[in-house]
Symmetry: C2
Subunit: 318 residues, 2 copies
């Protein structure tokens, strides 16, 4: 478990902190102390996500980080993500689609019997019989991106479970989760393809094998589980290397996702808002370009802080 | 490891045996002693597939079974499957497509320095740059089915790695492997869906959730990784049980496979030859029916014995 201390660039005194903002995922924990003018005073990241915290205790994890950051005992905390799941800290339920992003904060749940004011934001649920879906955390990124999402937008939020969301005038109309990231991981580690991708080097979306794989999966989505096998057979018969194999596997998964997700919009050629950080941002931008689509990038880290800030302003007005 | 001894129904004397036939897969080993008129004298099955035998020693495994069956020290043995892979016993190479099934036996490889005559049949390779593919074992099932495959047929061979094969006049024109079975297993055990399918009961292809899932995946193959996620979200939001979840997961994987595989034929409505045994035979027959296709069943166990018998007749004419 990594408990990284404050990033040097943003480490300042906790004295002027107005609130703490927490993005608490399944396998990651991130906390920021935010000052009067919205500035980041301090930041910590660790692997104490919901899975770990459910063992250690959510309060224990949170208070240890706040203590290490020198936060005041009365500093309020706003949290999004899996801490609000049924198997999390306190269940924060779901706001049903269609859902106005501005409504999220009104459904925040207070952690009972806590020594400080701690609020957990709800997730979103799509209770469609045929296409049931849920999100926790991404709604807060969307809330923080709302200024960049005028009119009707298709928003792509890559990750372990990628979300594609139709947002119209600040309202989430519908969304779909794609397990691409988790499948990439599970197949890389536990299937026959694990031999093909072992010892792969880092790759990026400019790799020709990536671009070609995106195009193949988009052109033949029904062949998905066959195309996956060609990662192996291409190595057996054509001697493709491990990095090519892993790059191809990534491109196939993302191409398949784009093939499906772009059927969710009436205007398949409209620019897509890409809410992403880190290497996935580059991969998806390249994949969307390979698919003939334009995308406008919104930094996912900034988006979640923006959403937590909007919630904090509503919860604790100046 | 299970080392099942002879099935009671076929246990007879090994005295009249003419040859031993072995289907040696990645994780399974099956051997039959075959008599003068092609009758099964004795049968054994075990989990000593290639993976295990590569540790134990292929000769050790084979001779132990032959000994337990009372086989003569000079009884010849014909083998198909992964024993002929590079990581198997003796590499038996590949016959390239288009490949006449009758040619397979001419490419059999003799195990060198063995105390008895042991031949391993080759696999088939499709050295297409865009759609590389390989099979080992299925070619022998096809050889054994050739009498039932007049004209041009699309043959479905379900399994861990399902094969769909275009056979025309005894020749394999092309084929595609779909990882559906392995993905079903890997996703059931290692992904977030493992929670959804835990404690599932047995199911069959008549289950409404199976039929519905086949139809959904066929209609929206690009949504495959989203449809997989609905196995989880359907449980969260609609309270679907574990058996429904596992049934749905199976139907989605098979439906996706059929969506892709039926693009491999010019005549998508022609009857499909289904070479299968056990529960998969029923599941695929139901799935094909749900897809509006007719199928004619060929028993996979009989098919592989038929192919090994054809090879034995060519190798050791009376």
């Amino acid at each position: 478990m990594t408990t990284t201390t404050s990033d040097a660039g943003v480490a300042r005194s906790a004295a002027g902190a107005r609130y703490a903002a927490v993005d608490w995922g399944t396998s990651s924990f991130r906390i920021w102390l935010i000052g009067d003018t919205g500035e980041i005073l301090s930041e910590r990241r660790s692997a104490e996500g919901m899975t770990t915290a459910a063992q250690t205790g959510f309060s224990t994890v949170l208070e240890a980080h706040l203590d290490a950051m020198g936060a005041d005992a009365t500093l309020p905390v706003v949290i999004c993500g899996m801490a609000g799941a049924r198997q999390g800290w306190v269940e924060a339920g779901y706001l049903d689609t269609p859902a106005a992003l501005s409504e999220i904060v009104r459904h925040a749940v207070a952690v009972p019997d806590a020594a400080r004011d701690i609020r957990i934001l709800p997730g979103l649920a799509q209770r469609d019989a045929a296409m049931p879906d849920v999100m926790r955390g991404e709604e807060t990124q969307l809330l923080g991106s709302v200024g960049a999402l005028s009119g009707t937008r298709l928003v792509c939020m890559p990750g372990t479970h990628s979300k594609w969301v139709r947002v119209a005038d600040g309202k989430v109309e519908r969304f779909s989760t794609f397990m691409s990231g988790e499948l990439f991981d599970v197949v890389s580690r536990h299937s026959i393809l694990s031999h093909a991708v072992a010892d792969a080097q880092a790759f990026d979306g400019a790799h020709p094998a990536f671009v070609a794989a995106v195009a193949e999966a988009m052109a033949h989505p029904g062949m998905a589980t066959n195309l996956l096998f060609t990662v192996r057979s291409g190595q057996l018969l054509h001697g493709h290397g491990a990095t090519d194999a892993k790059t191809r596997l990534s491109g196939l998964m993302i191409g398949l996702e784009i093939a499906g997700a772009t059927t969710l919009t009436d205007d398949a050629k409209a620019p897509i808002s890409l809410v992403a950080s880190g290497p996935l941002a580059g991969l998806y931008a390249q994949a969307l370009a390979a698919a003939g689509l334009t995308s406008a990038r919104i930094d996912a880290d900034e988006a979640v802080r923006g959403g937590l800030a909007a919630a904090a302003r509503a919860l604790w007005p100046a």
